[in-house]
């Protein structure tokens, strides 16, 4: 799964981080930062609006939708035969070899979670504090010609959620603990950039 763009939107809808990865972005149209700002605020409002669209059948039945997202191991972690023999974990304030190891509940109960098109798939992860992490990946899910239930899209959704939650962990380390960072402002941290780059590289 190749991640092409990462956007972080704060709780008022302003874009605080935007980064393109990989050579595939050369093919895409060159968008100015203003365009990205517009995209970010549009997505922010769409997230809110999509919460209103609930089919009546769901409202009547009140089926309990399972909001837990299972842990998908190895998303964004370097391969196990890498020659790192440093004893200290490289994960900042997280002990062990991965940021988290158990399944977690999604805080995004009714907003937009995934958009799949012909050329890319967009994942949205919303945190409890209203921060939104948006990843645009160039992987496209194959069309399923049979009528049986397929798990491709759901699995991709889980991988996307796991990945974005790890980006959230990196954010809580390198952005929140930076003395010169003020909340809700654009992120200008080299450490954060480096860690995100590593993780995107590992996912590919």
């Amino acid at each position: 799964m190749a991640i092409e763009t990462l956007l972080i939107v704060n709780k008022s809808g302003g874009l605080i981080y935007h980064r393109n990865f990989g050579e595939a972005c050369e093919k895409r149209k060159k968008l100015t930062s203003n365009d990205y700002l517009i995209i970010a605020s549009t997505l922010h409002s769409i997230l809110a609006i999509s919460g209103q669209i609930t089919p009546r059948a769901l409202k009547l039945n009140q089926d309990d939708i399972d909001y837990t997202i299972p842990y998908v191991p190895g998303v964004g972690m370097p391969s196990s035969d890498s020659s790192n023999n440093s004893k200290m974990s490289k994960l900042g304030s997280f002990k062990g070899d991965d940021y988290f190891k158990e399944s977690f509940t999604s805080w995004n109960k009714s907003g937009l979670r995934q958009l799949s098109t012909d050329q890319f798939t967009m994942f949205v992860y919303q945190t409890l504090t209203g921060l939104k992490f948006i990843a645009i990946s160039s992987s496209v899910l194959p069309k399923n010609n049979e009528m049986e239930t397929s798990k491709n899209l759901n699995l991709a959704n889980q991988i996307g959620d796991n990945f974005l939650r790890k980006i959230y962990c990196i954010y809580s380390d390198y952005v929140m603990k930076d003395p010169l960072y003020s909340l809700e402002m654009p992120i200008k941290s080299e450490n954060f950039d480096k860690k995100v780059q590593e993780m995107v590289y590992n996912v590919q």
């Binding site: 149209k29 995209i39 769409i46 919460g51 669209i53 089919p55 059948a57 769901l58 009714s110 069309k143």
Partner: protein, 163 residues
């Protein structure tokens, strides 16, 4: 594999047909073209429209004349999934389902080809453009598809899928 509702939008931003299944086991239940769904229709249209504009901005241009523009296949929210099908004439077919199925392209294609085209477009009496004057453009239209053949065939086709 539950289908919750089915919507058709035209190029004038109007919703010209909507059908909602409330009790999954009975395909004839539910509402057709109800007034209560008007607001939901507008929200849904706005959602699809804004996501399409974002997609157009982000995606690359088609390489040659024959390859298609980037189209939206599905939108997943926390509670349901909306599958989208666009026709060249500007109609949008939206199907709201649960999370079990990835892609409803074939079903929507079939609905378009065999049901919509047959009973609406090729129908001499039914209007091709559901807008009759300038007031009904831009989301203000009130005409809906009431063709019994269309509705019956739609229910017949979708009933084995609603479980």
């Amino acid at each position: 594999m539950t289908i919750y509702s089915f919507w058709i939008f035209d190029k004038h931003c109007n919703c010209i047909f909507d059908k909602e299944w409330t009790i999954p086991s009975q395909p004839r239940s539910g509402t057709t073209n109800s007034k209560q769904n008007e607001n939901v229709a507008k929200l849904l249209y706005g959602l699809i429209f804004s996501l399409r504009s974002i997609t157009d901005k982000i995606s690359s241009d088609p390489v040659d004349f024959l390859s298609q523009k980037n189209r939206i296949r599905s939108i997943t929210t926390g509670k349901c999934r909306v599958h989208l099908f666009e026709t060249a004439t500007g109609f949008w077919f939206a199907l709201m389902t649960d999370f079990k199925q990835d892609d409803y392209y074939d079903i929507l294609n079939h609905i378009y080809k065999n049901i919509f085209v047959r009973f609406i477009s090729l129908n001499y009496i039914s209007p091709s453009d559901f807008v009759e004057n300038e007031d009904e453009k831009g989301g203000q239209g009130i005409r809906k598809i009431n063709n019994k053949n269309f509705i019956n065939n739609l229910e017949l086709f979708l009933s084995p899928l609603i479980s």
